[in-house]
């Protein structure tokens, strides 16, 4: 079925010989096998160190079940602090920033803040419940903004948790004692009919030891 005219394809391509295989061994194999051995040893040690005995509940960066278990909150205080950290992330972080340094000129810092490290927490509880508007001086620097109140969004336990977290977070240099839900409940009852945000002057009239 091949064409006869000279303008048509004329048949088999010349010199079409199938490739042959060279038998025997190659020196490269030895080097590749050595590299293979090294990589297998490396891979093995990697898996031994990082695969946490194939446990389904261990995720990176942890390397053993015991490590993860250790980090489980064990006491009620630990659980409260964890809750506080997450509440901070939800409500406070957008303005006061993940590292609690605030934004210069806009949002005051909470890390190492003189307002946060007062002996008592009454002012802070009021700020969280109703918010703070107008000029305020924090660590000697002026800020003038409006912080919303959260009294309709969070419970007493939540306020206690987030304030305990903020006041006691050593990462931020805060070492003040925490807040109990009963304190929050009492203050909430006291200011229940107040709808406006606080001003700095009003709060500074309160003693800071409570």
């Amino acid at each position: 079925m091949k064409g006869q005219s000279t303008n048509q394809p004329t048949g088999q391509i010349a010199g079409d010989v199938e490739p042959r295989l060279e038998a025997g061994s190659s020196p490269h194999v030895f080097w590749l096998m050595s590299l293979f051995g090294i990589l297998v040893v490396w891979g093995d040690s990697y898996l031994i160190n990082r695969a946490a005995d194939f446990h389904p509940q261990v995720y990176t960066p942890y390397t053993s079940y015991a490590e993860v278990d250790n980090l489980r909150p064990k006491s009620a205080d630990d659980m409260l602090a964890v809750k506080g950290r997450m509440l901070y992330g939800t409500f406070c972080q957008p303005c006061h920033q993940p590292n609690a340094a605030g934004v210069p000129g806009q949002f005051p810092p909470l890390a190492g803040s003189d307002w946060v490290s007062t002996p008592g927490a009454e002012r802070l509880i009021r700020i969280v419940l109703n918010g703070l508007a107008g000029p305020v001086t924090v660590n000697g620097l002026p800020y003038n903004n409006a912080m919303p109140g959260f009294k309709d969004s969070v419970s007493d336990e939540d306020v206690a948790a987030v304030l305990s977290f903020v006041r006691g977070n050593k990462e931020w240099g805060n070492t003040s004692p925490g807040v109990k839900p009963e304190q929050v409940k009492a203050i909430r009852a006291l200011v229940s009919d107040r709808a406006d945000q606080w001003t700095s002057e009003e709060l500074l009239k309160l003693p800071d030891s409570n």
Binding site: E18, P19, E22, S26
Partner: protein, 493 residues
């Protein structure tokens, strides 16, 4: 068969293994012609469609307003179509076509059971079109790289079994028991895809847990890339390089090493470092890219040693250049995929376009250019005549290689720039957009160029097919058309 001697035609009809003289190359090519050619053409058309879709999707990244009121061409849906076109539309039919032809050539037997490949080609493509239409209308599975809906993949799997059976049957009927390495790698690809495809579909159907389906998707993607397309590329390389260089393949032990190390090391990867999966799975996914450097290095050594000492350099033929480019791209892709898992760089390029660039290098660069090289080599032999325009082929090969390189550079570059902008503690999406835009623009150009190159190739193949049809059929047709008893009818014979 009018021009074969009687002894040869007897032995060519289903000869048992190891008996008698081999069939001639002409008869083998002739037996493959109308099965392998349509499959290759359909796979090239899917490659064309896939690259055009890739260009469109990258245009949408640069100019989101382009065609933005049409649901079917939104970016999210086009992405599913692109991988389906490249892997299932181009990859698998090309793999089976290459396997059928090379197996017949190397086994020195005519292709038997061709009807099976016709059934495969038809059913597979019909189901794939339905699947792609499904993705465009919103039926994608949500698994990256495996988005075809089940109503498409199930008939595709059945069609595949038929096609694979033909290839394996022909392998069994080979003249010499000792298999050439190309045949090992095709055996691997054809079998492994059958197992993993049906396994993945069954696993998908037997569980409603999204988590397990996610893992099945990751696993299947690794299998079709590393244990189907990559062995297909290796098979083509191990055939073309020694054949073009006219030296024996160097050598058997190295080839065995590449084969078995690929088989036992590559299937365990595919889990990205950032996947929300336990540490042990992520660990496997980090160790495997390093281990597959072994078969890659082995392949590169075989390539380097089998190129001959200059009598027949690769650059003389367009397929030689293409297969060399394919090898360079493949090795670079494997290196980049390993580097992207090493911790300092992993922090930079995880969750960016970097790994898309890596899979471009492997699928389009390695396997794609390998198949294009095989098309350059096979079509003249299958159609019984040399290419009409060898310069066109050379240009097509050059354009394909350059555009694939450009695509890879664009995507890897986009990934690195995205990583640089977002891996700090203030990851701004706005910065990311600005820094990646020039890379996406480059990707548009290269995707369009690659599509154009495939259009050239499809055109050239059609011209070649028509010329061979002309040669074989025109005299017969003229004879039928000539009036009975006329001078013309008497003269033509």
């Amino acid at each position: 068969m009018t021009d074969s001697s009687p002894e040869r035609s007897e032995c060519c009809e289903g000869s048992p293994e190891g008996s008698g003289t081999s069939c001639t190359t002409e008869s083998i090519d002739l037996s493959c012609r109308w099965t392998v050619l349509p499959l290759l053409i359909s796979s090239l058309l899917w490659l064309l469609l896939g690259s055009a879709t890739l260009a469109l999707s990258q245009i949408k990244l640069v100019a989101p307003g382009f065609l933005s009121s049409y649901e079917a061409v939104s970016y999210g849906r086009l992405e599913g179509v692109i991988t389906s076109a490249f892997v299932f539309g181009f990859g698998l039919p090309a793999l089976l076509a290459a396997a059928a032809w090379l197996q017949s050539r190397l086994g020195r037997t005519n292709l038997e059971g061709a009807i099976g490949l016709h059934i495969f080609g038809f059913a597979w493509n019909v189901a794939l079109v339905a699947g792609v239409a499904g993705i465009l209308t919103g039926d994608g599975t949500g698994l990256v790289g495996f988005e075809l809906p089940r109503y498409a993949t199930t008939p595709m799997a059945c069609a595949y079994v038929v096609g694979a059976a033909v290839v394996l049957l022909n392998l069994k009927m080979r003249q010499h028991r000792e298999m050439y390495p190309t045949q090992w790698f095709f055996l691997l690809s054809v079998l492994w895809f059958g197992w993993s495809f049906t396994g993945a579909i069954i696993a998908q159907s037997s569980t409603t847990s999204g988590l397990l389906q996610y893992i099945v998707g990751l696993w299947f993607r690794q299998q079709y890339l590393w244990l189907t397309l990559v062995p297909g590329y290796i098979a083509v390389t191990l055939y073309l390089v020694p054949k073009l260089a006219k030296v024996p393949l160097q050598n058997r032990s190295l080839a065995m090493m590449v084969f078995w190390s690929l088989v036992f090391l590559a299937p365990f990867g595919g889990i990205p470092a950032s996947a929300p999966l336990p540490a042990w799975l992520v660990g496997l996914g980090t160790v495997t890219p390093a281990l597959v450097l072994i078969p890659t290095l082995g392949l590169f050594l075989i390539f380097k040693n089998s190129r001959g000492e200059g009598q027949c350099p690769m650059r003389l033929t367009s397929e030689g250049r293409l297969i060399s480019a394919a090898t360079v791209f493949f090795v670079s892709g494997v290196l980049l995929s390993w580097i992207g898992t090493v911790t300092p760089l992993a922090r930079l390029v995880d969750s960016t376009s970097y790994f898309k660039g890596v899979s471009t290098l492997l699928i389009l660069g390695g396997f794609g250019l390998g198949i294009i090289a095989l098309v350059h080599h096979a079509v003249p032999r299958l159609t019984g005549g040399a290419w009409a325009n060898a310069d066109l082929l050379r240009a097509q090969g050059m354009l394909s290689s350059v555009t694939v390189l450009g695509l890879a550079v664009a995507l890897v570059g986009a990934g690195i720039s995205q990583g640089l902008k977002t891996s700090g503690s203030s990851g701004s999406v706005g910065d990311l957009i600005g820094s990646s835009r020039p890379f996406f623009a480059l990707a548009v150009l290269c995707a369009l160029g690659f599509a154009g190159a495939q259009l050239m190739l499809v055109g050239a193949v059609f011209v070649q097919v028509f010329r061979s049809l002309n040669a074989c059929c025109m005299p017969m047709i003229s004879l039928w058309l000539a009036p009975m008893g006329s001078k013309k009818g008497a003269v033509r014979s």
